[in-house]
């Protein structure tokens, strides 16, 4: 009897909590509406678009993928007077991402920016049900969509993928041309984008070494950390590499660069950044200006910016339902390329910006071809030491 009473009361308590919450929130949503209306008034000139971003397994402070997308979306929203909010799913699962999407839509957001191939499954599930919500996906390839049973993207969705292999190629090519002989590649998880970076990097190193005629001297250590953040085990692996003579490591995968930087800064090693120009943040974080020699960038920020601009300008049809594969588009305007090395913070001496320009030209013209296959390690003349995944 007492036990029963206990259960009943507990239920009552819980329901009461909910009702208290509900009751007070009725007025709350009203204020929300009011606020919305207000925003609409003041920003009448711009649009009714409200922008939200959902993070993938990482966080907006990952100094990489999520952070770039977050900052770009937020900057655009602020510049254009649109509301902006970001959401983080409770778990790294499809169900949680859908819940976040629904949450964002319920909050009134109608432009959802989602970075990462993980979102393909979510898009496959929700896109048709929410035709009024525009979804801008980054890094979701055609393969990701078909894998989730989506043969064709609906009109409210667009997706962008990148030629990461080109960015990796340029970084590897530049590093070897700069004079480095012992290189390393530290990937995050072995997802297609990371693999493309890595394989491109290896190809770039190889081509440069062949050109320089020192292919027998150049070595690349190659490993995946198995996660998008650094930890003791990964740092230990990096320590080993650097102590055995590795000069520069391409740290490619979200927050994993911290392990490479930590190990590098102990022995005056170098790192190569990824996704965005990381030289500034790394210099700030580790107090060494020259720690990061360059970064293999992909134009996430540019993509977000362009797409949102088009959307706000009524040019959505340019992107609607398309999966665009972005790479090098110009050999003159380097900044316009979606994969690039940062010229503003150029620090390499033997490999100059002019050399870089020449390389871009060759890649753009097709004179140099880089394989985007993720099936197997490219065949090379240089030595590639593949390590087992750390985690």
């Amino acid at each position: 009897m007492k036990k029963k009473l206990l259960s009943v009361l507990l239920v009552a308590a819980m329901v009461a909590t909910m009702f208290v919450g509900c009751g007070s929130s009725a007025s709350d949503s009203a204020t929300d509406d009011a606020a919305k209306a207000e925003t609409g008034d003041t920003q009448e000139a711009s649009s009714d678009y409200r922008i939200a971003m959902i993070t993938d397994s990482g966080d907006i402070t990952d100094m990489s993928f999520n952070q770039t997308t977050y900052e770009a979306s937020k900057a655009f929203a602020e510049a254009n007077g649109a509301d902006f909010q970001y959401y983080k799913p409770t778990e790294d699962s499809n169900e949680a991402r859908i819940a976040s999407f629904e949450n964002a839509v319920t909050d009134g957001y109608n432009v959802i920016v989602v970075p990462g191939y993980l979102f393909a499954a979510m898009i496959a599930e929700v896109a048709e049900d929410y035709p009024d919500v525009t979804i801008i996906a980054l890094d979701c390839s055609e393969f990701d969509f078909t894998d989730n049973g989506m043969e064709k993207l609906p009109e409210n969705v667009c997706s962008f993928t990148y030629h990461e292999e080109l960015a990796g190629y340029m970084a590897g090519y530049a590093a070897v041309k700069e004079g480095y002989k012992k290189l390393g590649f530290l990937g995050g998880m072995a997802v297609p984008a990371v693999i493309r970076y890595g394989f491109g990097f290896v190809q770039g190193c190889n081509d440069a070494a062949v050109e320089l005629g020192n292919a027998s001297d150049v070595e690349v250590n190659y490993v995946y950390g198995g996660q998008f953040y650094g930890d003791d085990a990964i740092t230990a692996q990096m320590d080993t590499w650097y102590s055995k003579g590795t000069e520069v490591v391409f740290a490619c995968g979200g927050g994993i660069y911290t392990s490479a930087c930590e190990a590098a800064s102990k022995v005056n090693g170098k790192v190569i950044g990824v996704d965005s120009d990381q030289s500034g943040t790394i210099a700030d974080q580790y107090g060494k200006d020259d720690l990061c020699i360059t970064s293999a960038m992909k134009g996430l920020a540019a993509t977000v910016n362009t797409t949102l601009t088009d959307l706000f300008a009524g040019d959505w049809s340019k992107h609607a339902g398309k999966i665009e594969n972005l790479g090098i588009v110009s050999d003159t305007d380097l900044e316009a390329n979606y994969v690039q090395l940062p010229t503003d913070t150029w620090s390499m001496e033997n490999f100059t910006t002019d050399d870089y320009k020449e390389l871009v030209g060759k890649l753009n013209s097709g004179e140099v071809k880089v394989s985007d296959s993720t099936d197997a390690m490219p065949k090379t003349e240089i030595k590639v030491n593949e390590f087992d995944n750390i985690h």
């Binding site: 259960s7 308590a13 007070s24 949503s29 409770t90 949450n103 319920t106 997802v191």
Partner: protein
């Protein structure tokens, strides 16, 4: 005599009050933390956290029920872990190894479904057996080598985790390019637990028989503990193992049996989530928190099988609430912090209970001998 005990002094009421106080104090502390971080939006954020998925009630369509369904699905494993813990606790064992038993349950669920292609009843059974086996191991350590079950449990947690990473990291189970196990629905739909009232819950495809199964398990535990000779024996051992020995009960057998049953429930907990496809397994660097949160839930639920259901729902509800906090003002980490404060305050149930009962121990007989503890304390003091 009974009438003399005031309403607030009854054990059941005290347990209930303690649980409610814990929850309320947790929420207040969480609010204070929010307030310190950002005073302006603390109230809104706490409201959002408490209103939770009920915000979807303003939306037309099945969103509310669908989220409610997901909430139930996610509550199930934590409730079962709590059941596993409280069952062992009643028999005097602190089964911190629930996390490990849960982990081997994951191995069995996923390996059997993806690599072996078995159907759900076999996968479920395999998970139960795997958890039971893991419990059996720590039971044997305790019974035959007198290794404390907490130590054995913690060791086995890590062993389980690494085995899990190795086994499930193999290409039969792990989608290497996604670094998570393959989608069950796409690869072996037979292994998915049969749906349960999916239409009622807004076509939530994850809601399965795990939900009613959990209630059944809780009721069975309630019956076993209170009505059977087995429960009589286990509880006697738990309360006073010397008296149990005196009564001729087989302490070793009971220890092992308790941990086997507890482990079986924990193993089942794993399959109730991984056989619904709501989540895929990813290589993990730490033992699943489910087993540890289960401890908080078990205590919040007053160590009662039915109480654990309600406590589990509460904890999961609060956990889900974090995502509704406005991240423009509070980072997700802060939301997690608030949730942790609320959840872990639940562990203080016994503390609050002792406070509640302090001003008046129920003494029926004025000439009663003092308890052992009181006597000992007195001896020390004098």
């Amino acid at each position: 005599m009974e009438e003399k005990i005031s309403f607030f002094k009854r054990p059941a009421i005290q347990t209930l009050l303690a649980s409610v106080i814990c929850a309320v104090v947790g929420i207040i502390l969480g609010y204070i933390a929010l307030y310190i971080i950002n005073s302006e939006h603390a109230a809104d954020s706490m409201k959002a956290l408490l209103v939770n998925f009920f915000k979807f009630r303003v939306v037309k369509g099945p969103l509310l029920m669908k989220n409610f369904g997901s909430f139930l699905v996610k509550s199930v494993p934590i409730i079962l872990c709590a059941e596993a813990i409280l069952f062992a606790y009643k028999a005097g064992l602190f089964n911190i190894g629930v996390a490990g038993q849960y982990t081997v349950g994951i191995i069995a669920s996923i390996y059997c479904s993806l690599a072996l292609g078995w159907s759900w009843p076999l996968c479920l059974l395999a998970a139960i057996l795997a958890g039971a086996f893991w419990g059996f191991l720590s039971g044997c350590f305790k019974a035959f080598f007198n290794v404390n079950e907490v130590i054995a449990g913690i060791m086995l947690n890590w062993i389980g985790l690494y085995i899990c990473n190795i086994v499930l990291g193999r290409p039969e189970c792990m989608n290497q390019s996604k670094s998570e196990t393959y989608d069950l629905a796409a690869n072996n739909p037979d292994a998915l637990l049969p749906g349960f009232m999916q239409e009622f819950f807004g076509n939530n495809k994850y809601i399965s028989i795990a939900v009613p199964l959990t209630i059944i398990v809780a009721v069975i535990i309630l019956i076993v503990l209170n009505k059977t000779t087995l429960g009589y024996e286990l509880k006697a051992t738990g309360h006073n193992k010397d008296a149990a020995k005196y009564a001729g009960m087989n302490a070793k057998r009971n220890i092992i049996l308790t941990l086997v049953i507890s482990g079986a429930i924990a193993g089942m907990a794993a399959s109730t989530i991984y056989l619904t496809g709501i989540e895929n397994f990813k290589i993990a660097s730490s033992v699943p928190g489910m087993g540890f949160n289960g401890i908080a839930v078990a205590f919040l639920g007053g160590l009662n099988p039915i109480g654990a259901i309600i406590a589990g729902l509460f904890v999961e509800y609060i956990s889900l609430g974090g995502q509704y906090v406005d991240y423009n003002y509070y980072s997700p980490e802060m939301a997690d912090l608030i949730i942790s404060i609320i959840i872990y305050l639940c562990g203080f149930v016994l503390f609050f209970r002792s406070i509640l009962s302090r001003p008046g121990r129920v003494k029926v007989n004025a000439n009663a001998e003092p308890d052992d503890t009181a006597t000992k304390a007195e001896e020390k003091e004098v």
